[in-house]
Symmetry: C2
Subunit: 222 residues, 2 copies
């Protein structure tokens, strides 16, 4: 019944627009009563994002299950991947919703508050892992924001490509950038000689980001 409500809602949103569709219209098309609608969705906005609550719960459980020796930055990157996986499960629906959300200010607001909840989940986990470190809370908040921004950058690119590209590769690339900025580095490389040495020569006055770029490319991580 939940899926039928979502399908009916989206059909109407696309036909007549989000604002001009009422909950009564949706339940009439789905052939159920108003109370059934509200059993699944607190509001008309919620039916547009039917899977975020489940995904938030999955993310929270995934973070809570992290072994204490796991790298915390890698763990939040992996947690963020769960969101992309949810979008990639159903590319056509995700792309439709993306277009709808661009058009309706109330939905963009809703989306901002969902994104904020994901960010809080990641930051909460990192705050615990960084407890006792200098600036632990600051680091946690900054890394969580960076992870969410990188994830959303990849997600938006994929949605704008009509869900045609490789969503997972895009999000891995974006999150790899965050991992490198904050010290978790790429996935451990295989068969790399421990004594292999890299020499970088740089002007002292060069901006650090440029030097890091040279460094990344020298280390084969660009």
């Amino acid at each position: 019944m939940r899926d039928a409500l979502v399908a009916a809602a989206f059909r109407l949103f696309l036909e007549r627009g989000f604002e001009r569709t009422t909950v009564d219209d949706i339940v009439a098309l789905a052939g159920v009563g108003r109370r059934s609608f509200f059993r699944y969705f607190p509001s008309k906005e919620d039916v547009v994002f039917p899977d975020h609550e489940r995904c938030l719960a999955d993310m929270t459980a995934f973070l809570a299950a992290a072994p204490s020796e796991s790298d915390p930055v890698r763990r939040v990157c992996d947690a963020a991947r769960l969101v992309m996986l949810m979008y990639a499960e159903n590319p056509a629906f995700s792309v439709q919703r993306y277009r709808l959300t661009r058009q309706v200010p109330g939905l963009r607001q809703y989306e901002l508050s969902v994104v904020w909840r994901y960010e809080q989940a990641l930051a909460g986990y990192l705050r615990v892992r960084f407890a006792g470190l200098p600036d632990g809370i600051l680091r946690a908040d900054v890394i969580a924001a960076a992870v969410v921004a990188a994830h959303n950058n990849a997600l938006r690119s994929w949605l704008r490509s009509d869900g045609k590209g490789d969503a997972e590769a895009a999000v891995d690339h974006a999150l790899g950038h965050v991992r490198e900025s904050f010290g978790a580095g790429p996935e451990p490389a295989v068969a790399r000689g421990p004594e292999d040495v890299v020499v970088i020569v740089s002007r002292r006055g060069a901006p650090l980001w440029r030097v890091v770029q040279e460094l990344e490319s020298a280390l084969g991580r660009a």
Copy 2:
């Protein structure tokens, strides 16, 4: 008249709560008509954040006026400082508003959308500055999010201390952390010869953050 409306609104919000105060109540207390209210504020939410539009305009102008040789990460950090300065202009008002915003979900929503607009302003500037760089848009989005998160971390700490600490020192410290993660480092040192060369030797397998740490310390930016 604008200030009188803000003062009347806050007196009522604190006395009877945000939800139970109407625009009619506010204009009655301020002794003006409804049309005057809506000339200054599109909605009741806007009167809670009377200075964000001006601050967004100041930030946009500040970024647009950046010399092309300025360090882009430092520039967005300085732009974010404008927001903290606005809050620090009137600590008592800022603290009052912070408490009000914690209690009213509609105001938290409003705040999220304001924060999002600041982040978009910073990201927009960085996207232009990073145009043509590999992953320029990704870098821009991630750095803008990190700057906003660091700023807000400092701002919230200051608000929770009832506006008693040194707001500017707190935000400088938080933004310094972002600058170090993303390569702008602290303020430029003086008397640095342009031909001065730094050589870094590193194991290829070393985590990038460790190499960057060595680099920062060699460049005198740690």
